[in-house]
Symmetry: C2
Subunit: 258 residues, 2 copies
Amino acid sequence: MARMIQIIGLEKIGLVANGDDIAQAIFAAASEDGVELWDGDVVVVSQKVVSKADGLEVDISRVKPSGRASALARRTGKDDRLMELVLGDTQSVLRADKQALIVQRKDGMICLNGGVDKSNVRGRHVYARLPVSSDVSANKIRVRLEKLSGRSLAVIVGDTFSRPLRVGQVEFAIGVSGMEPLADYRGLNDLFGYELRYKLVGLADEVAAAAELVMGQGTERTPVAILRGIPRVKRTQKLNLSRKLQLGRRKDLFHKIV
Amino acid sequence: MARMIQIIGLEKIGLVANGDDIAQAIFAAASEDGVELWDGDVVVVSQKVVSKADGLEVDISRVKPSGRASALARRTGKDDRLMELVLGDTQSVLRADKQALIVQRKDGMICLNGGVDKSNVRGRHVYARLPVSSDVSANKIRVRLEKLSGRSLAVIVGDTFSRPLRVGQVEFAIGVSGMEPLADYRGLNDLFGYELRYKLVGLADEVAAAAELVMGQGTERTPVAILRGIPRVKRTQKLNLSRKLQLGRRKDLFHKIV
């Protein structure tokens, strides 16, 4: 028999609102679809539903822009209230002009518009912020879903990111709980006994990307995917796991290359 | 029923040598595992086996380094014959010091060591170059595999890349045939009728990343994966498709940010 991984998309989650119990919604949606959770399953949850459950939808018509937000709005040509929202999550602004606003967030992620996003959010002036700590959110969902199901699970919060050097966005793991985010081959041998020196696989990012294949971006209504049968999922109880995927600019081999 | 994608790893390919018919090897390995190919399947093939079949294993003990290669070896601290090999595929050197050698290849890809790699290659001084055109190689495999199976397929050549801003390598699509590499949502509506303006998903990169979950990097002996049931796979007969995933440095929103 060939080795197989399954990516199962859950379409029965429904719309998520502030305060909703996502783990319960996932458990119910899986049951409704006749999907039982298994030990070792990795559950990928779209950032957007996590943000909604965490109460991070903001109507910017109620936001009062600061002077700094107004200045940023002039540089970017964007709404000053939106800039206020972005600045609230920002550690430092890396680029701000008419083409792009790129910041390093307080959680360390470097991304366009600080991750603040309009898509699949109800209300003309309503935007969603990223979870304050996606690792903490992932951990809460994992612990609760393990209790409901009686299974050992990992949970990844996935979000769509633009990347340097490549066209098109892909899903990254911005929150991780229950599994090591990296698969380390350093010191292991290859097929011919040669010692691998650099191979360190961004496993959690690959899992998030795989989940996006079934989740989509538009009207697919599939904010959760269960990935089953992934080798190399190494269980851990550590926290702040997504930080291991963040690369400091000074350590970055592509520093000043892009 | 929940929506499902399957990632099927083929472990019966065996070792590949110069001149081997990879499509035939894939077809035989699938049959041996009882896996029939279906219309719409995306077959991901590891770069390493494509390079081997394309005769791109090079014993550097037979390479004579040029003066330019010797100079590059002094800057990087690497073997001058290896540098000669890298320079043969290089359009321009972007970084060369003791920490890293990063080049833009003649095929446009920006990567460490020009993609020349030692892992899973037999022989102490033998390295593998990337395919001269991975799109052409992908296309040859697709056309032949479609003939053998009688099915409409897509083929992706996948290779493991280091990325700016993120720790850990992930699989990218360096060769694409038979499917649009990008899924374009621009102009489409989201759940609430809001028009998506920027969403353009690097679908082929996500497919490659998903395939790596079953293929691995070490002694897994699984150089081919079949991905089945992916929505958004849009058939095309166009060539040079992986170029659509390459972002010019001047167009890059992260230009000078990393």
